[in-house]
């Protein structure tokens, strides 16, 4: 008995691993059982809270409408209907809105990456004389909650200053404002700040200019941070609701998030739930693939979005 318990404990130095409960505490039966109970309860609770709604969504998307209405909590449906997905995809034109979402995500991503990398490069590496003022001006926009700019930004889209173009019902209305993310610019600038200057100097000795430096040295070195910004850009587009609702009044241009609420009254329940499941798929896949980015960041500044 005793030897088995000993063997289970990790061989590595326990000092590094310790938290609130000490090793000697963990050996006391009372502490061990209480902690085991709390642990188990937490696991069950999180399974219900975190996975439960998604499982309900998955189950109901293949369940006939009447089943979901009458017994929403039954674990086993009275019939399976995988055809709901096909119907949602083609008959309710979820495919079209899904593609809209994809286009909006791709465009927003490109704009965000271009603005953040070129801007971050100029402010961090090239550093023109007024770069401090510019950095401060970018930082200042973080203080202004984006949502408060709703009305003036909307009026700007209706009539873009100087060029006088109306961007309503154009994807550009979502793409361009997405680029004005101070968070992205400052995150990337800070990353560039930490690249050793010696690398740039060495490249310059070899005759590299500003463009060459950016393209062949800075960009390849900053792949990890660009990855982070990219994933959050795509997830952000998928989550966005109010802004595309305002600037894309034409249903043909709208992304899934805007379209789903208006589809509900005219769509059979089972097909509608299948549509919800389709809309959830991409963010969940992204999350599962890039889990580490989400869970090990713990970046406080990332939580404030404007």
């Amino acid at each position: 008995m005793k030897s088995r318990k000993m063997a289970r404990r990790p061989h590595s130095a326990p000092q590094v691993q310790r938290g609130i409960i000490s090793e000697s505490d963990r050996r006391r039966p009372k502490v061990r059982w209480t902690f085991r109970f709390i642990n188990g309860a937490t696991l069950i609770l999180l399974l219900i809270v975190g996975l439960g709604p998604i499982l309900w969504l998955a189950k109901s998307s293949i369940t006939p409408t009447q089943d979901t209405l009458r017994t929403p909590m039954s674990l086993w449906p009275h019939g399976f209907d995988l055809g709901n997905f096909a119907k949602a995809w083609s008959k309710t034109h979820i495919d079209h809105y899904f593609l809209n979402t994809v286009w909006i995500a791709i465009g927003s991503w490109i704009v965000q990456i271009v603005v953040a990398t070129t801007g971050g490069y100029a402010l961090s590496v090239l550093r023109p004389r007024f770069s401090r003022v510019l950095t401060a001006m970018v930082l200042a926009t973080l203080f202004v909650p984006s949502i408060v700019l709703l009305v003036p930004l909307y009026l700007t889209i209706v009539d873009v200053p100087i060029v006088n173009i109306k961007l309503i019902n154009s994807f550009w209305a979502v793409w361009l404002p997405a680029g004005a993310s101070a968070f992205n610019v400052l995150l990337i600038k800070r990353f560039f700040d930490n690249i050793p200057r010696e690398i740039f100097e060495a490249a310059q000795v070899d005759g590299a200019g500003a463009f060459r430096l950016f393209w062949s040295i800075v960009l390849p070195l900053s792949r990890p941070i660009i990855g982070v910004v990219s994933v959050f850009a795509v997830i952000g587009t998928w989550k966005d609701f109010l802004w595309p609702l305002l600037v894309l009044p034409d249903p043909n241009m709208q992304p899934l998030s805007v379209r789903l609420p208006t589809l509900q009254p005219t769509t059979p329940l089972d097909i509608f739930i299948a549509a919800l499941a389709i809309a959830t798929l991409i963010p969940i896949i992204l999350f599962l693939v890039f889990q580490r980015m989400f869970l090990q960041g713990g970046d406080v500044s990332g939580a404030v979005k404007g």
Partner: protein
């Protein structure tokens, strides 16, 4: 002999790194080319609208008639609107409820999870899952859960224990608490992750020292862990207040502000002023209310930045 001289060069290089600039055509055309996307996008879609919102708040605007300066008239009209006080008190009520229900949960979870050894990553992934679901999908999904009929999801569960049926979103007394429950569910995972990272940075020696003094587990949490998390607890508090005062999607899709305006929030009111006015948008009033909300939030945001800055310089 060569090793020490090499290291001094490296040290000197490190010291000078901050001050040295790259001498590729500083202020030149190429620098401008790199700055151009940032200047254009921020100029048109960030700096200009910020200035414009201030200007608009003292103008009468509805896109049709010409702009006229009206002084503080827009602010006066907003303040006189009976819906304004309703929206402010609703938003404050939501913030308070979200604080009572939503603030302690992530902390308790994170403390438990940080002690877990086996399923730590599974637990944090489970907690974070609701965060990645698009808010619109969450709200539409929770509309089924909040179904007021006895056959609704939550009412079925309550029925097992002999309670209910509760009208959830259909009753002005329970509508806001229902939204708080959904919003808490949608957001707690992000805060758990922040706390988990913060818990890692609590110095292990403090626990050792507390044990030498004979502290129990509860005493260690109370006298070591929580005081060490003080800074981050305050930051998440401010972040939560900033987020809750901007509540929009949930009441907009759940209830549209009803029943009887019981879930009308400040942001919903801005939206109503600007975009749901039969007489054409009253952008002046919307801008005035936006400026007021921004001024209120700016206090919190400034405080937040001041805190995180002093935080990052010490660690």
């Amino acid at each position: 002999m060569s090793a020490p001289s090499g290291s001094t060069v490296a040290v000197r290089g490190k010291l000078e790194r901050r001050r040295r600039r790259i001498r590729v055509s500083r202020d030149g055309l190429s620098t401008l080319a790199f700055l151009l996307p940032l200047l254009l996008v921020f100029g048109a879609f960030s700096w200009y609208p910020i200035v414009r919102s201030l200007v608009m708040s003292v103008q009468e605007t509805n896109l049709v008639s010409t702009l006229t300066f009206v002084g503080l008239d827009n602010f006066a009209r907003v303040l006189a609107d009976p819906l304004f006080s309703k929206a402010v008190s609703n938003t404050a009520f939501f913030a308070l409820l979200a604080l009572i229900i939503g603030y302690p949960i992530p902390l308790v979870l994170a403390v438990i999870m940080s002690e877990t050894r086996r399923y730590k990553s599974l637990l944090s992934a489970l907690a974070y899952l609701p965060v990645v679901i698009p808010p619109v999908v969450s709200v539409l999904l929770w509309r089924f859960f909040f179904d007021g009929s006895p056959n609704g999801v939550f009412n079925t569960i309550l029925g097992v224990v002999g309670l209910g049926p509760v009208h959830w979103l259909g009753d002005s007394g329970t509508a806001m608490p229902s939204i708080v429950i959904e919003a808490t569910w949608a957001g707690f995972g992000g805060t758990v992750i922040i706390y988990l990272a913060a818990l890692l940075s609590v110095p292990r020696e403090l626990y050792d020292a507390a044990e030498v003094d004979g502290a129990s587990i509860r005493q260690k949490i109370w006298h070591v862990t929580l005081p060490q998390l003080r800074g981050i607890l305050f930051i998440t508090l401010i972040l939560q207040l900033i987020a809750t005062s901007q509540l929009f999607t949930e009441p907009f899709l759940f209830t549209g502000g009803g029943p009887a305006n019981s879930t009308l929030t400040v942001l919903l009111l801005i939206y109503h002023y600007a975009f749901q006015n039969s007489l054409g948008g009253d952008y002046g009033m919307a801008a005035a209310l936006s400026v007021m909300l921004a001024a209120f939030l700016a206090v919190f945001t400034a405080f937040y930045f001041w805190l995180t800055r002093s935080w990052s310089t010490t660690s």
